[in-house]
């Protein structure tokens, strides 16, 4: 198992955001966590990235207990977050944002080639590489956020609502990029409100309600499920 969560709880004061979640993810898989706003999906991801400390439960990654590791230590191990709302630093240039993804990498050899490879893939970023990132559109910012995460050399990439605020065409592009990265061997944990898109790329999926897993299975099983279809896929 690449990732194993056991009975994870995340609390903010008295509010229970994640209420005893267990999850297993194999290397090379895409796992989607589905659910409405406020279901606790983002809190789960923040706990996995090390941004919030779980109240109880354990996170094991590649056999190691990482529950108490800092954000940077998890990034070192290849657990990299593409945060909700993309979190681009708009006062920095596009290239500086990319470099921030690799800011703590010990092995910096080949970094320039990797940046060049990202520019080859996203020519819009290349054209604006020395401009402030505030000049990018929402879609370009999402590509930048994913590129930034790539430069951290991830093994498990976690994406928090990558389709948020994007046009349908751009959503298609982001999801085909996710599939492409996965084909290249990257494991992906995906949080999405766009249930049908998420299920179209995922191997496994979980449905979250009020911090609990209410449904789990393969993507095909969930796609065929009547309850899920009615509530989240529009009939």
């Amino acid at each position: 198992m690449l990732l194993e969560l056991d009975n994870l709880h995340v609390r903010y004061g008295r509010t229970e955001a994640v209420n005893g979640v267990s999850l297993k993810q194999k290397e090379g898989e895409i796992v989607a966590v589905l659910g409405a706003n406020g279901a606790g999906k983002s809190s789960l991801l923040k706990a996995l990235a090390g941004i919030v400390t779980p109240a109880s439960g354990t996170i094991r990654y590649d056999g190691e207990d990482i529950t108490k590791l800092r954000v940077d230590q998890r990034i070192d191990r290849g657990i990299v977050l593409v945060p909700e709302g993309r979190r681009i630093l708009i006062s920095l240039t596009v290239e500086e944002n990319l470099q921030l993804g690799a800011h703590q990498r010990a092995d910096r050899s080949g970094l320039n080639d990797e940046i060049a490879a990202i520019y080859d893939q996203f020519s819009n970023l290349k054209e604006r590489r020395h401009m402030e990132a505030s000049c990018l559109s929402g879609g370009e910012q999402q590509m930048l956020a994913i590129g930034r995460a790539m430069l951290a050399k991830p093994r498990l990439m976690m994406l928090d609502e990558p389709s948020l605020g994007l046009s349908p065409l751009l959503v298609q592009q982001v999801f085909s990029l996710i599939s492409e990265l996965n084909t290249g061997g990257l494991s992906i944990l995906l949080i999405e409100q766009n249930t049908s898109m998420a299920l179209s790329v995922a191997n496994h999926a979980l449905l979250f309600e009020l911090g609990r897993t209410v449904m789990a299975g393969t993507a095909e099983e969930l796609t065929k499920d009547d309850v899920l279809r009615q509530a989240y896929l529009g009939g």
Binding site: A49, I51, R70, V71, D72, R74, I75, L81, P83, R87, L89, I90, S91, L92, E96, Q99, L100, G101, H103, Q104, R148, A152
Partner: protein
Amino acid sequence: MDVLQQLISGLMLGSLYALLAVAFTLVIGVLNFLNFSIPGIFMMGGMISWGLMSQTNMVWWLAMAIALAACVVASLLVERFTYRFMKMRFGDATEHATPLVSSLGFLILFQGLVLIKWGPEMQYFPSPWQDPNLRIGELVIGLPQLASLILALVLVGGLSLLLARTGLGRAIRAIAESPDTAAMLGIRVNRIVPAVFIISGLLAGLAGVLFSLNYLQASPRMGDEIATLAISAMVLGGLGSVWGAVIGGLFLGLVQVMVIQFFGAEFLRAILWGLLLVIIVVRPQGVFGGSKISKGKF
């Protein structure tokens, strides 16, 4: 010739304001924190080097190096018990006035300690040079003044290169824009913020040493007036702008000598502060600030 001479003196005086203004603007730019302990650190730069030289006969460069080290330690103490304390207690220190007030407490503490140790008198600061003046034709340039100007420009140049080109600078700017995002990206904010205080403390302490060298004096209250000018220089340049602070500082130095030259010293405060008032009313974001009134970012 006289005007040229005054121009040079003004620039050199201004370089002291500039160093101190950069010390202020760096902490404001990154943390949105007006650190009132900086005048105290400036004062300790002068007083501790004076104390070591005059009371232990220490050689000047060693005394100054030790004084600067003390300033850095003092600045780190301020970071630990103002900014970091608030951050640990409340998760955020940038939206509160509390660190500002506690830094004012540190100013009083630093001044108090120096008062207890050396008393309130103004002390004569021994010059390391036999003849501190360089003569080019009729122009007289003080070596300490020249050292201030060159050091100010070199250090600020180095600082802006550090901010613009290095990984540390990138991390500092990321924290300046959003500490939360920086933390999400794995930047260890608690490791980087002390670096900002080290640089700021070093600049303030150095300005204090250079001030004492220039005026051959040191006193527990030497930081009070110059700090108000440095803060004005920073506001003139636009909060958080390093080069803005430098230009603001040089400008104030020039205005100061020119006012004394053409109107007399008795008009200095009225004209200087009147001018600042007008500039702030006309351009509240500072001469080099962006279009909006800055909260204090680079």
